[in-house]
């Protein structure tokens, strides 16, 4: 239960910090926003499944972008702030603290999704309808969980190298391309497919589209298989994340480097 208290406390602090200065989410979500705007122009005045692609895709990219930056920098913020030693000195495991931050980042990515939705509907007059709202919500929640878990892996990997900044920025574009957010991964060269499919949210967005559009053909595995893969990926990420964080904590205590990076 202590772990849950840590998780919730971290999530809450992260949310409060965001609401204290909301404009700082902008750099994380600018790219998805602009990309969606371009996409909407590409799609022209379409309604139905293509418009759904644009809006859902943009929202998904927003959640990706914010998760990447939010969790990649989860502990960097503490470092700049001078709070990292205090956080490390608590009896809470780092992984739970980062999990809370990561979940908060993924969740806040929804803010971007909403913004895109508003712009699309008001600015472009796009019309959208969701065929099965409950299944959509389920897929969305599971995708957010998968994103949060992946965020933990990002954070720990970045902490183990000195180039967190480069990696975070460097991963942003490839993820937008490979995640199947805005266009199906079938269009990409076949050798990239395993990479795309290793990302839980790729399955997640596919599931969301199944739920939103009754005519959707998608990757061909069907809604429930997609959800299963999302769940599976979440478990794998959590396992990797936990293991990596044990390494991070031991390294920090041995090498005293966490404060420096």
């Amino acid at each position: 239960m202590a772990e849950l208290q840590t998780l919730w406390g971290s999530f809450r602090m992260s949310m409060l910090s965001f609401f204290a200065d909301p404009q700082w989410i902008i750099p994380n979500i600018i790219a998805p926003f602009v990309f969606t705007a371009v996409a909407l122009i590409f799609f022209g005045n379409v309604s139905g499944s293509l418009a759904l692609y644009a809006v859902l895709g943009g929202g998904m990219m927003g959640m990706w972008g914010n998760t990447l930056y939010g969790s990649g920098f989860a502990l960097a913020f503490d470092r700049w702030n001078g709070t990292i030693e205090y956080v490390l000195a608590t009896p809470s495991r780092l992984v739970w603290i980062v999990a809370g931050r990561s979940a908060s980042s993924a969740f806040l990515g929804l803010v971007n999704a909403l913004a895109i939705l508003v712009v699309a509907v008001l600015g472009y007059g796009t019309q959208l309808g969701i065929a099965n709202p409950l299944l959509f919500l389920l897929a969305l929640m599971l995708t957010l969980t998968s994103l949060s878990a992946l965020g933990i892996v990002f954070c720990s990997s970045f902490l183990l190298t000195r180039s967190a900044q480069v990696l975070t920025n460097g991963l942003e574009m490839p993820i937008y391309v490979a995640s199947g957010s805005m266009f199906p991964i079938a269009l990409l060269p076949f050798w990239t497919h395993p990479l795309s499919l290793s990302l839980g949210p790729t399955w997640g967005i596919d599931a969301m589209r199944y739920a939103a559009d009754a005519t959707y053909a998608g990757m061909g595995f069907g809604y429930w298989t997609d959800l299963l893969m999302v769940l599976f990926s979440t478990i794998v990420y959590l396992a990797i994340g936990f293991w990596l964080f044990i390494i991070v904590e031991n390294k920090a205590r041995r090498d005293a480097t966490l404060e420096e990076y």
Binding site: Q5, R12, T83, Y86, L88, A89, P91, R253, R254
Partner: protein, 325 residues
């Protein structure tokens, strides 16, 4: 139920080596031994001071004892728990205050800062709010508790630090330079609070490079220099160490470093410390000779303008300078 250990803190030949990379193109790894094998004990209910100049190894020692760093060799037990093997047990039971401004989340309120750390320390939800209120009252921040920390003065931030350090009701506290950077009034308040905590039965290990602070607060002081303990005793015993020394204090104008070098070269001079900044320079000369040495001093400093000469009783600072030299 484990037995209560005899001592609050026990260090046994604790050593810590850092590996530093030097150079831009050809990185060379150098080993820097920050702590070179130190041992001491701290009793329950004691206010123990670790005194030393910057870079002496104080912060490294505290980081090892608070489980933020693993020692390269040697062992230590905090509240009976090993600092390498029982990390979580220690963390649950100790409070930490590192001096300085940083260490708080500025954009949220003081209360939220305390809530966050309460959660990280696993303070039970039933106790949490009351404890936070009590702590805020104790440090005098109750009326500003819900304002953003960035609006707090330096002294208020320090008080919040203290509240934060007490959030898990620890029986043992570590404080690393707690009054650094504070104005005299805030520093005084902080010291009063520290004394109050000891009176309530807490054990405190405090590091400082302020001599008078160690003298005022601590029951025992370990003087650390260059990674080693050079003395460990009560303040009065340490002052006794320099009882045969007289201090000649000179107030002057126009003294240069080479004058000090000449003074230091004198056989009867054990130590010279000086503050040459500003218009009024203060030079303290330690000598066993006493006031009969004054004419020699004035002659050696004849190039400068001497405004006042006094003899003084040696203080802890003088003992410290002698030990650390």
């Amino acid at each position: 139920m484990p037995e209560k250990p005899e001592k609050a803190i026990v260090l046994s030949d604790l050593r810590r080596v850092y590996h530093v990379s030097k150079g831009v193109f050809r990185k060379k790894r150098e080993a820097v031994e920050a702590v070179k094998g130190i041992s001491f004990n701290v009793d329950f209910g004691e206010l123990f001071g670790l005194l030393g100049p910057n870079g002496a190894g104080k912060t490294t020692t505290i980081k090892m004892l608070t489980t933020l760093l693993t020692p390269t060799s040697g062992t230590a037990k905090v509240l009976g728990f090993d600092i390498v093997k029982n990390v979580m047990e220690i963390r649950r039971r100790i409070g930490i205050i590192f001096g300085g401004e940083r260490g708080l989340y500025y954009r949220v309120s003081g209360r939220e800062n305390l809530r966050y750390f309460a959660d990280l320390y696993g303070v039970s939800l039933s106790k949490r709010e009351k404890r936070i209120s009590d702590l805020l009252d104790m440090v005098g921040l109750a009326d500003r508790a819900d304002d953003r920390v960035e609006s707090y003065s330096r002294g208020m931030k320090q008080r919040l630090h203290i509240a934060k350090g007490l959030i898990n009701d620890p029986e043992l506290m570590f404080m690393d330079e707690p009054t650094i950077g504070l104005d005299p009034e805030a520093a005084r308040e902080t010291r009063a609070m520290i004394k109050g905590l000891v009176e309530k039965g807490k054990t405190i290990l405090l590091t400082t490079h302020y001599m008078f602070e160690a003298d005022e607060l601590c029951q025992r002081i370990a003087v650390i220099s260059n990674g080693k303990i050079v003395a460990l005793d009560s303040p009065s015993a340490l002052k006794h160490f320099v009882k045969d020394i007289t201090v000649i204090e000179v107030e002057a104008f126009g003294v240069a470093e080479k004058d000090l070098a000449i003074l230091r070269g004198q056989p009867e001079v054990t130590n010279v410390s000086a503050d040459l900044e500003g218009e009024r320079q203060t030079i303290r000369i330690q000598t066993p000779r006493g006031s009969e040495f004054i004419p020699t001093v004035t002659q050696l400093l004849s190039r400068a303008r001497i405004m006042d000469v006094r003899t003084k009783e040696p203080t802890l600072e003088d003992a410290y300078l002698k030990l650390v030299a």
